[in-house]
Symmetry: C2
Subunit: 343 residues, 2 copies
């Protein structure tokens, strides 16, 4: 006979307009039977770590025909998680396995789309890193920088939201290649971390700059070869004025815009012509085939201390709504994760 | 002894702000000695045809460090022209040669930068075509479509300002490759011409559309693979909503914006990410190496009637200011040229 246990969940109450608030979500106490439904090939997961990612805000509105689907109001939020397999109806997974994949914002999940789960083999690293440097944000940084930016040694690179889950890695990859790298972030603490921990050549607090164009000219007197775009809006406009001829802009995210009902207009696109700039959006999903190669490269780098990674850890599912909201005010320092359980 | 002859000129009176007006230019009666200055390798040109191009508006403001220089207030406007060599101090050119190159908006010019002149060999075509299909706009269409758009047979192509000097060719190139092609233009006459003369699959008058997004959805129910961008602003915003995944936008011009002191903001750039769009600006100058190859391809096509070209001809240097101004209200139908003299 299957035991029924309590299962706390984070529910999206409704589609969200304007700035995301904690009250757009609610904690709900439910129960769950921890068994694989008869005849099903689902797996029963105990969720350990959950990932807070900016794209999740996008899923909180009604979306049609895009690369992701809307969350379902009244249901738990879903996202990337690291979880332990409690029961498995799929021969690819055994009880006790640790997996990375799409799961629910709840203590236990029954996942039927097991093809989206990835079995974690190397557990000799912090497991939460599979939500960051060893997961989607890591591969995003890797594919975005190496595949989209066409970087060359000696080029000048600017990264916005540079202390975030993706930005901190882009900067380190660019340094490893011999580029000059400058990052922007939203607090003194983050700026200090960019220079001291992640070895950016320079960093600045965009909130303290009256004139972003002037700030960029200070750090890039000869212009920017590569812009790794995470924020959009005013920063993009200032960057366009400071790109070099034949520069490249990899558009990874536009986090400054996700909570706006009417996005800011970008005015300087004419620079794309005068400077022959390539601006290219990308999604990590198109680069999943590179994941094994990336993992094989990055895990030894972390173990050897040649690459470092910063996480911001929220304790307990109760803290998840606040952690997610914090992404959009830049409260987190480094990759934001939520610990549901450590075992 | 050198004869001095009268030389009418079109002078830029001052840097221009806002919408270009005829009164920003003035006609001036001057005189010129039609000889090569002693010890110089200049050529003396009799100007036959002058080109009106949207980028010229850009040169009417103060520009620093761009791909072109500002015009000099108080001096004649300069641009592409077809001219006859009257005297030559450069052994590459002989009296009687017909050349294409940068010349002045005046009856006679003395050009010292003779390396910018190209000797026209095939005169068995309308000479003014060297300002259009056989010149800079032609190579722009060719390089922009084949080199920047990465087109494939069967793809869907949208061209704005489609009846213009560049657009009409892009559409024909796309049809030759087996694409589905739709163009936008600003009058019924232009729209009719796009369908009947240039063989676009569909065309529409953007001025009659309340909702550009809806118009594009009507012609591209499954989305746009390639957008050849000539106008910018609201059209670009509507196109972004209608691009297909992995679509390409070749940014050739943004003529709707050139007379605005504050350009319109573009709001839908987030689509670059969700649809993994590549948006790339280009300038024809980077593709001059393709010019001989292009000419060898296009001249026989015109002679065989497989490609057609529409010109809008203004008679006399006096009509040049009005012809240039007309570009920005879309008065011209086809490539706008000015006839200074036919021989």
């Amino acid at each position: 006979m299957t035991k029924e246990v309590s299962n706390k969940q984070v529910i999206l109450k409704h589609y969200v307009t304007g700035y995301l608030k904690e009250s757009d979500m609610e904690l709900k106490n439910t129960t769950i039977k921890l068994n694989v439904p008869k005849g099903s090939s689902a797996v029963v997961l105990k969720n350990l770590y959950l990932s807070c990612d900016p794209y999740m805000r996008y899923r909180m509105r009604k979306i049609e025909g895009s690369y992701v689907e809307s969350f379902i109001p009244g249901s738990p939020i879903t996202g990337y998680g690291v979880a332990k397999v409690l029961e498995s109806g799929d021969s690819n997974f055994q009880k006790g396995d640790i997996v990375l994949g799409r799961t629910g914002w709840e203590e236990y999940s029954i996942v039927t789309a097991t093809q989206t789960l990835f079995k974690i083999h190397d557990k000799d690293v912090p497991l939460s890193y599979y939500l960051g440097i060893f997961g989607m944000p890591g591969l995003t940084a890797y594919a975005g920088f190496y595949e989209v930016c066409s970087p060359k040694k000696g080029e000048t690179v600017f990264v916005s939201a540079a202390s975030g889950a993706v930005g901190q890695l882009v900067g380190q990859f660019a340094k490893m290649l011999g580029c000059y790298v400058v990052g922007s972030a939203g607090s003194k603490e983050k700026v200090d971390q960019l220079k001291s921990k992640f070895c950016f050549d320079e960093a600045f607090n965009y909130k303290e700059e009256q004139d972003l164009d002037a700030a960029l000219k200070r750090y890039f007197p000869d212009g920017i070869d590569i812009y790794f775009e995470n924020v959009g809006g005013k920063m993009l406009d200032a960057v366009l004025l400071n790109m070099k001829v034949h520069g490249r802009i990899a558009v990874c995210g536009m986090v400054s815009q996700y909570n706006l009902e009417q996005t800011e207009g970008v005015h300087n696109l004419f620079c794309l012509i005068t400077k022959r700039i390539r601006m290219e959006g990308f999604l990590v999903f198109d680069y999943y085939h590179l994941y094994p190669k990336y993992l094989a490269m990055i895990i030894p780098q972390i173990k050897a201390g040649k690459v470092v990674y910063a996480e911001d850890v929220a304790e307990g599912l109760e803290s998840a709504p606040s952690a997610l909201v914090g992404l959009f005010s830049g409260r987190n320092i480094g990759k934001q994760i939520v610990v549901v359980s450590r075992e």
